[in-house]
Amino acid sequence: MSTLAQHDPVAATGAVDHALVARRSRTWGWWFVAEHRIRAMRSYVASWVAISVGSPFLFLLGLGLGLGLLVDANQGAEGVDGVPYLVFIAPALAMATAMQTAAQENTYGVFGGFKWFPMFFAMHGTPIGPAHIVVGFQVSVLVRVLLPLVAFSAVMAAFGIGTPLGAALLLPIGLLLGTAVGFAVMAWVSTQTEDRGQLSFVERFVVVPLTLFSGTYFPLETLPWFLHWIGWISPLWHAAELGRAALYGAELDPAMALVHVGYLVVLAALACWLSIRTFRRRLDK
């Protein structure tokens, strides 16, 4: 250990300005949390990219070409919502993927952060506060949500599904949906302290039903009227409606557009607030 004298960790004490550290963390703490999680993604980046890029291809090819041929043959020139079936479902599929990714990351990531690998407690041992952890976590989830969205948009642009500008507009819409769903799932999962199998409810009883009943594969109006409420409360439906208007100019009242955006923004803000409250309570032991 002859090198200790010149490498001594404690000898460098003067080099860290602790007041500056606290100020930086109070402002940028959320980004440091996101940075940590993005760095952690590097260990499985290959499989992550393969899934993110591969699944849009599979979905669009499978549903568009397979089911699409059948539907289009049935509907004739009228199509679905005035367009071929593939164009109709493409934006909703992109949104459904954004929702699934955000929900999944927030289910196991949030529960695990308290329980399996209690990283939230480790983060809280630094100047970072609970609100930064909540927001930073969601920012890192948006990175995961963004990749499949980019893949969807690229595939749509490449195959001439809708307009290229419309395909690009799916990105901000998808991110807004990811934020709303992400915080909503986080708000619930963060209240769960024991894993009794209820975590899979998010996937089975929320994500899947919403995907099936939110006008993803068919217009919401096709459902009987007493099931329409599922669409109205479903963040996926609001995002899909926005996506369709963006991609192929589906008819959308400006007031309705505002309602769609407003719903997602309010859901995100409310769930974010609830999440921070729960994190604050659980991290203050």
Binding site: L4, A22, R24, R39, F117, P127
Partner: protein
């Protein structure tokens, strides 16, 4: 006299009806190695969390590095190195990356953090493992990595919650050596432990805590002087006969404690006590004279052993 690094008066933490920390007072001086010695559930970890501003106190006064934890958590934690009881390492990351991400939480620039991480790996004797994944490390290595992580921000004080619990003797000695080095460099160390040998090795001063209250305070040597004799004679007569034998040796030494497996005779001269036992015609199965330890202090103060 410089201002204390940490000062508490009437510090209390209640969880509903349960009082985990019951109005304790202590002051920790700069550069001191200060210990909280007590059994599990004594309120040691809760006290540590209140110092780190990760647990809000119920009542009492607390100042840490010039700040009130109730309002200035980030300012306090910016100056602290925290080694929690569970390592809380990111097992998905490599060893070096655990240090880097943690350093970033303090807003330290990446080039600085990278340089410092390499230095700390050397300090923690983990340089060869820098690219290893954390889940493959031994318990002792993880513990050293957690200590290195706690040093990334050049803290003014380190909070170590049970630093060597669960480690084998060799790993504990390596860790003690590292902590001792920090102490020599003038870092204030605050640690909790239920190992008396650890407290004796590392602490300049300690408080003995039991059921949320401080029952004694002082240096290990002064506590032993005050609450115990210089030596202890341990005699075993077999678990069925210890109590009867204790009655027979009544009056030998200054004090006698009967434990389920042995009888402790407290006397400044252990050998003389041993002779006295033999003179009464008793022949224990085994006997041993040793110096008094903090375990004896704890036994005297609470009537119980440290490790149940």
């Amino acid at each position: 006299m410089p201002a204390p690094v940490i000062e508490a008066t009437g510090l209390t933490k209640r969880y509903g009806e349960f009082t985990a920390v019951d109005g304790i007072d202590f002051a920790i001086e700069p550069g001191e190695a200060f210990g909280f010695l007590g059994p599990n559930g004594a309120g040691k970890s809760t006290t540590m969390r209140m110092i780190a501003a990760t647990s809000t106190r119920t009542s009492g006064a607390l100042r840490v590095l010039g700040f009130d934890p109730a309002e200035h958590g980030p300012e306090i934690r910016a100056q602290l190195g925290i080694v929690p009881q569970a390592d809380q390492l990111d097992e998905e990351l490599r060893v070096i990356d655990n240090l880097i991400v943690y350093g970033r939480y303090f807003g330290l620039p990446l080039p600085y953090v990278k340089r410092r991480a390499e230095e700390l790996l050397e300090f923690a004797q983990l340089t060869e493992k820098r690219k290893a994944r954390v889940d493959g490390l031994s318990g002792g290595m993880k513990r050293r990595l957690t200590i290195a992580r706690g040093l990334i921000n050049a803290p003014k004080a380190m909070l170590l919650d049970e630093p060597t619990t669960g480690l084998d003797p060799q790993a504990r000695h390596v860790l003690w050596d590292r902590l001792f080095r920090l102490k020599e460099e003038g870092t204030t160390l605050v640690l909790t432990t239920h190992y008396m040998d650890e407290a004796e090795q590392l602490c300049d001063r300690l408080v003995v805590v039991d059921k949320g209250t401080i029952v004694a305070e002082g240096s290990p040597a002064s506590l032993i002087r005050q609450y115990s004799t210089r030596e202890v004679l341990e005699v075993r007569f077999g678990s069925a006969r210890n109590a009867a034998a204790a009655e027979a040796i009544e009056g030998i030494g200054q004090r006698i404690e009967v434990l389920p497996d042995r009888v402790l005779v407290y006397d400044d001269d252990g050998e003389a006590a041993m002779s006295a036992v033999h003179e009464r015609g008793l022949s224990p199965i085994t006997s041993l004279v040793r110096r008094s330890s903090l375990e004896d202090v704890f036994l005297r103060l609470t009537g119980r052993s440290l490790i149940d």
